[in-house]
Symmetry: C3
Subunit: 358 residues, 3 copies
């Protein structure tokens, strides 16, 4: 497929400068781009090297100082770039079809133009929309519904009574609808299971990475709202809600009943206490431990999580604690400044193991 | 199914007050409960709203001030509630049977009343007890034994030489018996694998969440003892032992040779050093890093983990470090209190990146 | 199989002392070793008990004080031990063969002496080397190539366009080649997916644990270099590179574009910022958060990660913060030492929740 720079500008709602008829056949990152390619130039470092590139055209936020080059000028150049990657990739789609090695329970409803790979197992009373793709090893329980154009990758497990929207992508190894983690101690001190009778709803346009776990609700519903994007190895506890267009990075765990608002960004390795509420557009930094509610728009870091600026100031001073102890020690001397620095240094280097207690 | 309040009281060993003949058809949480339902009322907030509910009956710890309502009075109301959820749910069980699409190796022993879904693969010399359920995509290696009434969810993998007890539940994607992580550097600095020749034992009444990893022992055994409950995405290293009725939350990792006692509670995101011993009834707070043995009954937090009160005091003061630096700075002035506060504040706000070194 | 001590010494390039003709039938850890066994004695504690053991022979670093015992003296006794475990285990290998329940796409190339268990699914244009083992539930996409003697355990998923080397071991539940996590906000604030068009390369002699996720590159390649060893539940983001013979422990996550050098050791629960570079032979301690580049050979700990000694000194003083606040409080008194200790202690024990704000 070859398109002109003018066509690409039209498709992305940007503006072409230079040779609008230049033919483009591929989208590539700056360091690999060559003749026939369009590439992205946002960072000043790349912009300085732009005339050394042999790419045919460049997506840029503005044309200043780039006279004579073929440009696609766009206010959101990364978005234009992402759209063109998709455009040039879409020609590869395989022909749809349902494998003969498909096992399904009673009373299922199948949409049109499905792609079902070999060894897919579907329970009773399931409903699958149009143009969905189910890869090998996918297992659906009973009463699972799936919207149109959803893709479920190999070896995903979806338990019974789960709803999945349209245009959802679920990556391999992810488990949706396993029991929430709830036990109560019985008279003999043993753990008695609280049956988890609720469900999970994954709304439209959600993407869930590989080897995630989205637990079913105790009662009611665990919800991943429209457009939320989850990375790999994420735990979403029972009755949690992840808001619209919220982004969650890998290895983060939400305890039962956590609520995250819209357009929040949760970095990797984060944990939350049960039932905390994280507001819209909050940013939680990596490895933070969220122990109480976070108001809308705040940026938090640390365990327990605090305003990012408060944490940054504290952690900077944390690494200056040896200096602090030394300054206090000096202040404590009867004649200030009269101590020998050598002795001080030795004291501060005492390894942790030599301290009694704690 | 409809049961009277008197019957429910008898089943749970509680006491009925009010209309003992009232018919109950469902168990629901307080906010959803309506006519025909029994619900749980423990928190004072709900107790204050109890007369606004249209539920038929209420499980409560005592009857004070609740005259005229239908009550199930129970010393452990949450346990009674959990038991009734199970009671009303049990009518749904599917008819057992073994799928024709079942692949098994030589010399296996199968119990009675099994439910084996399509596409289950079982190796040689395996033994499966009575009334077990194996879901689609389950793979057992050779010489795996499974006790009665155990349920193994879809796409679980159990390697060879693993023993699993009775009434165990293993959720989807979990891997039991993969090799422990052991290597030794060879003469050329390359990693040489230490073959892992031990086994895994999962005892009776254990529940293991989704996408967990329980590694086999190098020699000997990795053990999850009777009644222990593991959440999702948990790593149990080779030769570890998790004690009876111990609870472990998601995304926690136990290094090789970790021992956890009975009735301990390990919160989420915790890590341990190899070979540490965590005593009975210890509580480890979320994201703690346990670097040395923890005596019985202690509550610990932080990395390295310390007595929870010690950590809480330290972390509270951590966030007051800017104040502390300021107070020291004042003390260091020749004439105390003579500094301008504006200057001080600016100094404390120096971002981390402007500090030399460290 | 029985071998003499002399044969074992020859195989491991060590030296036999004592009865070189003694027959050895098994390798066992010290506490289990009995007649007919060889075992490892490195720690002084075990060395002190060596004459109480009924083992036939002992692998030791030197023969001092061990006269009269059968010894395999070796400069790297753990390596010799690991080699003998492998030697005695290798007699168990099953006969190779390809299950009739094997599903493969068009134009695949299969090597010799393969072991393919039932229910393996392989896409189009795949290539599998000689003497490989694929366990049940393995799913390969299109254009996957696998080198000789590689073993892929049950329920592993490998997406399309992934290269895997020779003698690689991949444990169950691991997902290789799922999409990197990349989105850009569109005009309406929604997340627009950046298609991930790159690939993954797993080089020779790599071992990857269970339930790991190795994402494909946005463009280009995500690489696990020769001899690297990954534990369970590890996230490797798009375009990351893990260097040769590097060791990574469980529950660690590498953000997109992280580069780790050769022979590094990354402990468990570590996280990294995008695009950080970790040098050769670096040691990253457990739960560290690596926010910037780490030069070759450094040992780092903490979040943000710093030189291990700097972090250890700071964390030791962190737990002494109550003492520090008290010492400052004393210094601030007009007449030093005039305060009552009882009052001080009470102030320091104020729980976090009573403090306003922060």
């Amino acid at each position: 497929m070859e398109l002109t720079l003018a066509q690409l500008a039209e498709i992305t709602a940007g503006e072409a400068e230079g040779d609008a008829g230049a033919g483009i056949r591929c989208v590539r990152p700056f360091e690999d781009a060559a003749f026939g390619d369009i590439t992205l130039v946002v960072e000043p470092k790349l912009r300085a090297q732009i005339r050394e590139s042999s790419a045919t055209a460049f997506i840029v936020p503005d044309a200043r100082g780039l006279e004579g080059l073929n440009l696609l000028v766009h206010p959101r150049p990364k978005l234009a770039f992402a759209r063109l990657i998709k455009l040039f990739a879409e020609t590869k789609a395989a022909a749809p079809g349902i494998s003969s090695d498909f096992t399904a329970g009673a009373n299922i409803r199948l949409g049109n133009s499905l792609t079902i790979h070999p060894r897919v197992t579907v329970g009773r009373e399931c409903s699958i929309g149009d143009r969905c793709t189910l890869h090998s090893g996918v297992v659906l329980g009973d009463r699972v519904s799936i919207g149109n154009e959803t893709e479920i990758h190999a070896n995903v497990t979806i338990y019974s009574d789960v709803g999945i929207g349209a245009r959802v992508i679920i990556h391999s190894g992810t488990v949706i609808g396993a029991d929430g983690f709830g036990f109560v101690t019985d008279e003999e001190g043993r753990q008695f299971k609280i049956l988890q009778t609720g469900r999970v709803e994954i709304e439209d346009d959600v993407e869930i990475g590989a080897n995630c776990c989205i637990d079913r609700a105790t009662f009611g519903v665990t919800r991943i709202a429209r457009g939320a994007k989850l990375d790999n190895l994420i735990q979403v506890g029972h009755n949690s809600v992840i808001g619209e267009d919220t982004i969650v990075a890998a290895l983060t765990g939400f305890s039962g009943g956590t609520t995250v608002g819209r357009r929040a960004v949760i970095a990797g390795g984060v944990g939350t206490n049960p039932h905390v509420r994280i507001g819209d557009e909050v940013l939680v930094m990596g490895q933070a431990g969220v122990t109480k509610d976070v108001p809308q728009g705040l940026r938090v870091a640390g365990t327990p999580a605090r305003d990012e600026r408060v944490w940054k100031r504290a952690i900077t001073l944390f690494y200056r604690l040896p200096e602090l102890f030394d300054r206090i020690h000096r202040l404590e001397q009867p004649a200030r400044g009269g101590r020998k620095p050598g002795k001080k240094t030795k004291r501060l280097r005492d390894p942790e193991t030599k301290r009694p207690g704690v």
